[in-house]
């Protein structure tokens, strides 16, 4: 695809995402923070459903060698980096998506967060220029590189190569795990709802009858 075509596809996709996220008030930060801090799971459930659809979709196409998977080696830098990112996103009250979406709504705080994300990136680019660590995409070999704390490349496609079992099979296992987490959240929500609104005996009995019917 030509460069213009790529950029156009990306812009159309981004516009749809921005619109849907703005209208649905989805936030990745809230998906994690609210679950931990307030025990509300509205965004967490949406996140899990998305991940289930994507896992089935991606692994189906990866089974046939289609699509463009991310080519990142597995490394310790990912744990440390996302740990810092996790602290940052809760403090800023927005992740990479919601900073753009909130900026589009006129949130000056989000624009400020974006500005400092750029500054943070520039600062780290200076550090990288001294250490040359972590290995960049161009220098990632796909092989374990213990000196660089990198463990090589591994995803559903490499699993399929090594085991001969279609990638989709592993994808379905992961989807099942995500679904189990989703069910656990639903159970937890019901428990919380019962604690907050203790139902009288007859109503509870009527409800169990209704539930067993449906």
């Amino acid at each position: 695809m030509s460069v213009v075509g790529q950029c156009l596809a990306a812009f159309i996709f981004g516009s749809a995402v921005g619109f849907l996220v703005q209208r649905s008030r989805f936030c990745n930060t809230a998906a994690l923070r609210d679950a931990m801090l307030f025990k509300t799971y509205r965004n967490t459930k949406a996140l899990l459903v998305t991940m289930m659809i994507l896992t089935v979709g991606f692994t189906t196409f990866m089974t046939f060698g289609d699509g463009v998977p991310l080519q990142f080696d597995v490394g310790i830098n990912q744990v440390i980096g996302l740990f810092l990112f996790g602290i940052g996103m809760v403090l800023a009250g927005a992740c990479t998506v919601s900073t753009w979406v909130k900026a589009g709504e006129g949130n000056v705080g989000a624009i400020w967060a974006l500005l400092f994300t750029f500054i943070g990136m520039f600062l780290f680019s200076l550090v990288w220029s001294y250490t040359y660590w972590p290995p960049a995409s161009a220098t990632m070999t796909g092989e374990p590189n213990l000196a660089g704390l990198q463990f090589g490349f591994a995803n559903a496609a490499t699993l399929q190569e090594e085991t001969g079992i279609p990638a989709l099979f592993f994808g379905l296992i992961q989807t099942a795990v995500l679904y189990a987490i989703y069910q656990a959240i639903l159970r937890k929500e019901r428990r919380i709802a019962e604690q907050h609104a203790p139902v009288s005996q007859p109503v509870a009995a009527a409800r169990t009858v209704l539930e067993s019917k449906s």
């Binding site: 830098n77 980096g81 602290i87 400020w112 990136m121």
Partner: protein, 163 residues
């Protein structure tokens, strides 16, 4: 219009995004934000520093400033889409954080996000909507990191809110 008055269901909205993301995965690559933001940083830096920027190895070897990098346009699209959504539902207005503590938290948070993305080479979007669905082992490491980070962040956030 009534359509723009109510909030969309997040599960349905995100399911639509997931389907679109699969199409993007088949054409250029899965949804990601961090790479585009880095390229924007590079372009802004190039605007101020000119050719001097190429003397910093990172901007010469890893991210050579290039306005034709598709990931930039996902971010600009999100800004545009959100602006349209906010204007049509009459939700656009300038929101300015009131307290100094908010400004400090946003500043530190922004810096940590920028440093974190560059250290990990992935952002939260590629973690949840790219690496993990592709079953990249790095995705599992990243999720561990982001959950631990969000937990520590929540503790700090709670302290600041209460204190």
């Amino acid at each position: 219009m009534d359509f723009f008055k109510k909030t969309f269901d997040p599960v349905i909205s995100l399911a639509i995004i997931a389907v679109l993301n699969i199409f993007l995965f088949l054409t250029v690559g899965a949804w990601t934000v961090g790479g585009g933001e880095t390229m924007m940083t590079g372009l802004i830096a190039e605007f101020f520093l000119g050719d001097e920027l190429a003397r910093i190895p990172f901007w010469d070897l890893v991210f050579k400033p290039d306005a034709g990098y598709w990931k930039i346009y996902i971010s600009l699209g999100m800004l545009f889409g959100a602006l349209v959504g906010a204007l049509m539902s009459k939700e656009f207005y300038w929101r300015v954080p009131k307290h100094l503590s908010e400004w400090v938290m946003i500043t530190i948070g922004g810096l940590l996000m920028g440093i974190g993305i560059r250290l990990a080479f992935v952002c939260n979007v590629s973690t949840f909507f790219g690496l993990t669905p592709q079953m990249n082992l790095g995705g599992y490491l990243s999720i561990t990191g982001i959950i631990a980070g969000a937990w520590v962040g929540s503790l700090i956030y709670k302290k600041v809110l209460e204190g």
